[in-house]
Amino acid sequence: MELAYYPGCSLHSTGQEFDLSVRAVFSRLGIGLTELEDWSCCGASSAHAIDPDLAVMLPARNLALAQRTGLDVLMPCAACYNRHVVASAHLAEDPALRARAEEMYGSLSGTSTQARPVLEVLCQDLPRGDLLEQVVRPLNGLPLVSYYGCLLLRPAAILQSEDPENPVLMDELLTDLGAEARRWSYASECCGGGLSLTRPPVVQRLVGRLVEAAREAGAEAIVTSCPLCQVNLEMRQSGHHLPIFYVTEVLAIALGVGAPAWWKKHLIDPAPLLRRYSLVG
């Protein structure tokens, strides 16, 4: 399998662990990733704050670049993924906007490439048996909760995502890897990531509730697939020291390609937890 790769701005800064773990895991699984050349910012999460059309036109440039590769584009960042899919839908419905975009960036059609989120590729494209064969270090019943957030699931009709009220893909993956996926009611509740900088008090309230609920469910860490959520959950929780993993980090541990280099990048160091469950060293 071969995919184009759009890391997005976050994965080059606050979400570096995501970038590193995605590359490590995909390489271990034999899926080639080619970074999209000269990709640009998709505008999340400011373009749509001031103009709906701008929020379509910025992703359009990347969509045009992707067309030329002929490959599906892996977009680990949930915000980038969401914005690109929503933009594609708008471009398909609005001929004027589409014409403008093509005039600017070149053709948007020709190949049928589409944006793909990490979780879907791992859970739906890859036969589960093939993936599990590569597991060298089962997760020893590590109690976790899956946190999908908003942008991977909603709007479901456009994203063609699983049921936003009851998503299961991540839970199933974690369970198969030997972790203990705890049930909770907050898997797709908003953490307020989009308001993280402008309204810290709102966001602290939302994150506080999520972290408490995770604790109450008996989880020792939250697993997410969105860099906005990850940094927000780490940065805005107070007093809990609950580690927040990317799903690819957890998978990397199981596949034996986990690197201590990226644990150090976490604001909340997960290494003590991993040691307790004999998952490092």
Binding site: R183, S185, E216
Partner: protein, 461 residues
């Protein structure tokens, strides 16, 4: 089997079908009443009390079911399905094929003593109890069942499963000691005093001719699992309206004590959410289910009667108390019984610290409200039963967007259909309450009698 006497087929033995059959039979014509469940009564048999008089549902229903069971002019075909209907060449009659499902009990021998149910060692979740109670693998729906004859649930019966395994060769035909393998269990057969258990019973078919048909196949509630935000199907203490009826009913699994499913404790706070899947074109049904406002008010009142000091909260969009005495009943719930009514829809039900947090909003007070509850009752949308569509295709009848059958003219001829001789009664046509269903059942019977009289058949004396 078909007699010379003119007769009508009534499909579905809920209250509408029962009323139609009784009115036809009491006018001297024969009614063949077909029901897919083992006994008659429909959803009304599941209800505790009825609004607005709080009459016990079972108590007012039983005289009717008993009358059906004994009526000389009614041929009862329970545990049976209508497989095929064809109109005769001259158009005046219908050829009907009925399949009776194998019950593995010879009802002509069975006395309904109940020994088999007592001795059967296996329990499974009961559909009749809406998942909040269990039944044996050989079962009747209730002690007052008409007919009071049990059926064996072949899917879960240990004996039938092992018998099938031996016959199909998945299990060796000989045991280690060389004896022929025997199916396991068979407790019901051992204890049956009349040897009524018939392990070899097969589905049987019957063909008959009728002069008219009444469709009264009723409704189902939409599954709560379709509303993930309320934890339907995941949180055990989130139940639908019919399940709560069973918890209120004296004949229910808790013998009329309101106990929550997760831990058997008495809930101190119950939240009722209306319009669950109704008035929801985006994710459920576009229509209003009509009965929920009233049964929710009733359930809240009954809950407060059962659990002294209990708190009941109802979330609603509009309260639809349109019917005789209904507005007054609603007032009673709100004022006398102090049920807390909040105008606004619930967005999410969370499980937290062993209870439920219901996140709603009060549109009149313009504030968000989080109600801590021990139990949540969802007034799920009323929708047509799956077999209704099959019958509609068989008979070439019109169906509306929600899947309910259409009257010839929904306003002026709600009972008649596009097909002469085929009539509708009750919720098969759309959500409605008991008195409306009864009136429709009678009205459909009137159309049948008219038709049979016009066809010249004289009623039996």
């Amino acid at each position: 089997m078909s007699e010379a006497r003119p007769s009508a087929l009534v499909i579905g033995a809920g209250i509408a079908g029962i009323q139609a059959a009784l009115d036809i039979a009491n006018s001297g014509y024969r009614a063949v009443l077909v029901e897919s469940e083992p006994s008659i009564g429909g959803h009304m048999a599941q209800l505790s009390e009825t609004f607005p008089t709080l009459d016990c549902s079972q108590c007012i229903l039983t005289p009717r079911t008993v009358e059906v069971g004994h009526h000389a002019n009614i041929d009862l075909r329970t545990y049976s399905l209508v497989e095929d209907i064809r109109r005769s060449k001259d158009g005046s009659a219908f050829q009907v094929r009925i399949r009776r499902k194998a019950a593995y009990v010879d009802w002509s021998k069975c006395t309904g003593c109940g020994a088999c149910q007592e001795k059967c060692p296996f329990k499974v979740e009961s559909d009749f109890e809406r998942g909040v109670g269990v039944r044996k693998v050989i079962y009747t729906l209730s002690p007052q069942a008409v007919p009071n004859k049990p059926v064996i649930d072949a899917e879960h019966c240990r004996y039938l499963i092992s018998k099938h395994e031996i016959e199909s060769g998945t299990v060796a035909a000989l045991t280690k000691s060389g004896k022929p393998a025997e199916p396991k269990c068979g407790a019901c057969a051992k204890f049956c005093p009349t040897e009524a258990i018939d392990w070899d019973q097969k589905d049987t078919y019957e063909e008959l001719e009728v002069g008219a048909i009444v469709l009264a196949t009723g409704f189902d509630l939409m599954s709560p699992a379709q509303l993930g935000e309320y934890g339907g199907g995941q949180l055990p203490d989130v139940v639908d309206g019919l399940a709560f009826e069973r918890l209120l009913a004296a004949s229910g699994p808790t013998a009329g004590r309101v106990l929550r499913p997760s831990d058997g404790q008495e809930p101190r706070n119950v939240v009722f959410i209306q319009c669950c899947g109704s008035r929801d074109p985006a994710r459920g049904q576009p229509h209003c289910s009509k009965i929920c406002c009233m049964y929710t008010a009733k359930q809240a009142i009954l809950y407060k009667h059962h659990v002294h000091g209990g708190e009941a909260t109802v979330f609603y969009i509009d309260v639809r108390a349109a019917g005789k005495g209904y507005e007054e009943f609603l007032q009673r719930a709100q004022v006398q019984e102090q049920v807390n009514y909040i105008r606004g829809k619930v967005s999410r039900v969370y499980a937290e610290n062993g209870h439920l947090v219901v996140k709603g909003a009060d549109t009149l007070g313009h504030r968000s409200v989080d109600v801590i509850a021990d139990m949540v009752v969802l007034a799920m949308a009323v929708q047509p039963r799956p077999e209704t569509r099959r019958l509609a295709e068989m008979l070439d009848l019109a169906i509306d967007d929600s899947g309910f059958l259409c009257g010839l003219d929904e306003e002026l001829a709600p009972i008649e259909t596009l097909q002469s001789g085929v009539f509708l009664a009750g919720t098969v046509q759309g959500p409605r309450d008991i008195p409306e269903s009864v009136a429709q059942g009678s009205a459909a019977a009137g159309k049948v009698i008219q038709r049979l009289r016009q066809q010249g058949g004289e009623a039996a004396a």
